[in-house]
């Protein structure tokens, strides 16, 4: 049956048969499935999801690359057997373009196994945390932080924004805080003159003003904001709701245990401390892990703490659950994979389009350029703009020479070599021109750089901001341009090159 199908493909769809796209994609699918299952079967209970090691995946990535390489070699052994273009079978431009797209597809699918493993891992975590009420746990954690002081540095007024604390503070302090949030204006704003850093230290150490970190899951909108958290906490303290605080503390201690965080914390004793005076003054600090040493700012010494609660681990676990629920989509990683597939497909395709000898001459020549240009740049102290300028000029010259030589049927070898050089340079040309233009448009603010190192806050041109905002779009657009370049420049010139006579 397989042989019958194979013969059918061979006779009816020779391109599909010759590129071996069906078996290679079948193999890739199976390998993706295996990686997914391996990710899913990873041992990862809730007590471990805060660990970063399983999610770094260095060994999985290395193994995935190895599998991709082995698969690519096996595929190439079959794919490189027949080349209808070089055998002069009269193949059309559209046939060749379809071949390029198939190469691109195969190379893309055959190199991203580690991402599938990650999806399997995420599914596992998602499934393990199905029962978790992320919104509730995040709210409890944020509220918990209001009642447990880990460091005396948790009291600075500018540590939290948008909180009830700001409402309580004098205007002279609040204004610079708001201004600082709008960082672009901060340098020139007169309010900065009124900012008094000494007030940073004078703030009272009370649970009323204590501000820890804040957790807000992306997949569960509706978490209490810091203003609301502060309001609830202060209300409980105002009303002396010791039971509410105790329940909260016990609940978060349970969360610590649930997510594998170390905890040793006498909640009853702590509740008594919180309510021991009307100002809810902080009497003691707790650590974030075993053997924690607390830095005492006033005496400049490290103090060992008896009690600890690793809520950082709860925070990490909630973050991980949130990440896994939202799914993994990192545009930059996928863009990098797309570019890798496009460049590898271009290199392989160019090998198929031009004869072996010219291809190797071009490869050696490209290696020489890769040495010569940095040497020129270093010896002439050229900046990035200068180097990219040289490369752009080289690309234009190579393109012009190849088009002229191939269309004019003169200098076959020269035409082939310059065509390959310009083809290999093409994917980098537009991103390089883009970054060079962005760099040229940037206006540095020398005075401010000297005083405050605030140069990034200088106002730039609209075009500069537009270029910066659309760099990822440009990278996608460049891929489309690459596809058009292959169809309307590389393929027609290569076919003509194959037809041309040697001198």
């Amino acid at each position: 049956m397989f042989e019958k199908f194979n013969q059918k493909l061979l006779l009816k769809y020779p391109l599909i048969w010759n590129t071996r796209v069906i078996p290679v994609l079948g193999a890739a699918l199976i390998i993706h499935l295996l990686f997914y299952v391996a990710g899913y079967l990873s041992y990862l209970p809730l007590t471990h999801i805060a660990d970063s090691a399983p999610f770094r995946m260095q060994s999985v990535t290395a193994f995935s690359v190895l599998v991709s390489i082995v698969m690519a070699i096996l595929w190439l052994v079959f794919y490189l057997r027949n080349n209808p273009l070089k055998a002069h079978y009269g193949v059309s431009s559209n046939y060749l373009y379809a071949e390029f797209l198939i190469l691109f597809f195969i190379l893309f699918c055959g190199q991203s196994f580690f991402l599938t493993y990650q999806q399997g891992l995420y599914t596992k975590v998602r499934k393990a945390g199905t029962e978790t009420d992320l919104l509730h746990e995040a709210n409890r954690l944020n509220l918990f932080r209001h009642f447990v002081a880990f460091e005396d540095t948790g009291f600075p007024i500018d540590d939290c924004c948008d909180s009830v604390r700001r409402r309580l503070l004098p205007d002279s302090i609040r204004v610079p805080m708001e201004i600082e949030a709008r960082s672009t204006d901060s340098v020139s704003h007169p309010a900065f003159d009124r900012y008094d850093p000494s007030k940073y230290e004078l703030y009272p150490q009370s649970y009323r003003y204590y501000c820890g970190a804040y957790t807000s899951p992306e997949t569960e909108p509706g978490t209490l904001n810091q203003f609301q958290v502060d309001s609830v906490a202060i209300a409980w303290m105002d009303r002396g709701e010791e039971d509410s605080v105790r329940n909260l503390l016990n609940e978060v201690v349970d969360l610590c245990r649930k997510y594998g965080g170390a905890v040793k914390f006498n909640t009853d004793q702590h509740v008594r401390e919180i309510f021991h005076d009307s100002n809810n003054t902080v009497l003691s600090y707790i650590g974030t892990s075993e053997n924690w040493l607390r830095y005492e700012r006033s005496s400049n010494i490290l103090i060992p703490l008896d009690e600890y609660a690793n809520i950082g681990r709860v925070d990490d676990a909630l973050g991980r659950l949130d990440e896994c629920r939202s799914g993994f989509w990192d545009t930059e990683i996928y863009l990098a994979l797309l570019y890798f597939a496009a460049c590898a497909a271009l290199l392989l395709f160019s090998f198929r389009m031009i004869n072996l000898k010219v291809w190797f001459i071009s490869l050696i020549g490209a290696g020489l350029w890769a040495v010569v240009i940095p040497v020129i740049a270093v010896s002439s102290s050229l900046e990035w703009e200068g180097v990219s300028g040289i490369l752009l000029v080289m690309f234009i010259i190579f393109m012009g020479v190849s088009a002229s030589a191939i269309r004019g049927n003169s200098g076959k070898r020269m035409g082939g070599v310059t065509l390959l050089w310009s083809t290999w340079m093409f994917p980098g040309m537009i991103p390089m021109a883009w970054t060079t233009l962005t760099s040229l448009l940037y206006v540095p603010c020398y005075q401010q750089e000297i005083d405050y190192d605030y140069s990034d806050f200088c106002e730039q041109s609209d075009l500069y901001y537009w270029l910066k905002a659309h760099d990822v779009d440009m990278m996608f657009l460049n891929l489309i341009l690459l596809a058009l370049f292959v169809r309307f420049v590389l393929i027609p010139l290569s076919r003509k090159w194959q037809a041309n006579a040697e001198e």
Partner: protein, 388 residues
């Protein structure tokens, strides 16, 4: 039915009647291909399967009977569209010099028609391959013109080039089975799947490759590799075929078979082609060629110059191998107008004044008890170019 096709069918019957089953079978497949009828192809392939299944048990009468039945069906199917005689290539004033070298090929003028074969002979390094590469548009001529009328109207340079089929002396290695490679080639020329498979099977059968169809490169001899290359090429239905030393790897029997097959195929009624082939096997090439071009230092000499229809009577030239030395030979031929005796490569080249005949020379040798091992009249053969 065409008279020529009718003649071809009679010719095939004649082969079978004279028990020349090998040639009869090959020509039967040729006539089947002339019909361009896939039903006939299927019947022919069934016939092949039947012969294979019978093996040694196949009797001549049984085979003839079955072949005649098939020939009747081929005759009833009729011939496809017949291609009239027309020029395939017109070459005028062609020259090419290599940069940095003193070799130059020049002064080439000839026309090649459909069904015509031009043999290209000459010593090594005298421009045979260069001429073939020029004709294949692999090399750019310095001057002169190569005109291929069958390409008229084709604007795509690659497609024009793809219609010129040039088989180099060293056949490039292929991978996979012979059949897969044949089918891969045919798939680009016959878009209908069923039809393309039959074409590939027919060509494999025609060139005697059926026993090897599932074998790979490393498991078949160089002679069969050449046959495979030809089969693959013929599936592309060429207008012109350029072959560089196709006989180099073949034994004498295979050389004769291949050349004869090429001659038959070039003479096809429905898919004829012109052919230029280079070879060192002068006599084999002469047998099938309509013209011979001899290249010496890049300059052509045409066999027509030696033609019997020329205005002057040619001097008798003989190639002779005998069991005597030069002195004995000279004395044996002393009564004849002998111009020269040259010895080269184990044979004597004898040249006599015009008007001398071969039998007179043989008679003189017989009378003087000179035992002749080998004799060939090369008066009108391109072999003389090598002597001069």
């Amino acid at each position: 039915m065409s008279k020529a096709f009718d003649e071809q069918l009679r010719e095939v019957r004649g082969y079978y009647e004279h028990a020349d089953h090998g040639l009869g079978f090959r020509r039967l497949l040729d006539t089947a291909i002339e019909t361009r009828n896939t039903d006939i192809f299927l019947k022919c392939l069934n016939y092949c399967d039947w012969m294979d299944s019978r093996g040694d048990a196949l009797s001549a009468d049984e085979n003839r009977e079955r072949a005649f039945l098939l020939l009747d069906e081929i005759g009833n199917a009729g011939v496809g569209k017949i291609v009239e005689k027309a020029p395939v290539a017109e070459i005028s004033g062609l020259s090419k010099a290599y940069t940095g070298g003193n070799f130059k090929i020049e002064g080439l003028d000839f026309t090649l028609d459909y069904r015509q074969i031009i043999g290209l002979v000459g010593e090594n390094g005298n421009g045979k391959t260069t001429l073939l590469r020029l004709l294949a548009m692999d090399l750019k001529p310095d001057s002169g013109e190569i005109l291929y009328p069958f390409m008229a109207g084709e604007k795509d340079a690659y497609k024009r080039r793809a219609r010129l089929i040039y088989i180099e002396q060293r056949i490039p290695r292929w991978f996979g089975s012979l059949m897969d490679n044949m089918r891969f080639a045919v798939a680009y020329y016959h878009p209908r799947k069923e039809e393309s498979a039959l074409w590939a099977d027919m060509m494999i059968a025609r060139l005697g490759l059926r026993p090897f169809r599932h074998l790979s490169w490393s498991r078949i001899s160089s002679g069969y590799r050449t046959r495979f290359e030809l089969a693959k090429t013929l599936l592309r239905q060429p207008s012109i075929l350029l072959l560089d030393e196709p006989l180099a790897n073949l034994d004498i029997l295979s050389q004769q078979t291949i050349l004869q097959d090429l001659k038959f195929m070039a003479n096809s009624l429905t898919a004829p082609f012109g052919m230029v082939l280079s070879s060192q096997h002068i006599y084999e090439v002469e047998k099938v060629s309509d013209r011979i071009i001899f290249l010496k230092n890049g300059r052509p000499q045409y066999q027509d110059q030696l033609d019997r229809n020329g205005s002057e009577e040619a001097a008798l030239s003989l190639e002779l191998e005998c069991n005597c030395d030069r002195q004995t030979l000279a004395s044996a031929l002393s009564g004849l107008p002998l111009r020269s005796i040259a010895f080269n490569g184990g044979v004597y080249i004898l040249e006599f004044d015009p008007g001398t005949s071969g039998p007179v020379v043989l008679n003189a040798l017989h009378e003087n008890r000179v035992e002749v091992m080998y004799y060939r009249n090369i008066t009108y053969s391109s072999r003389r170019f090598f002597v001069q």
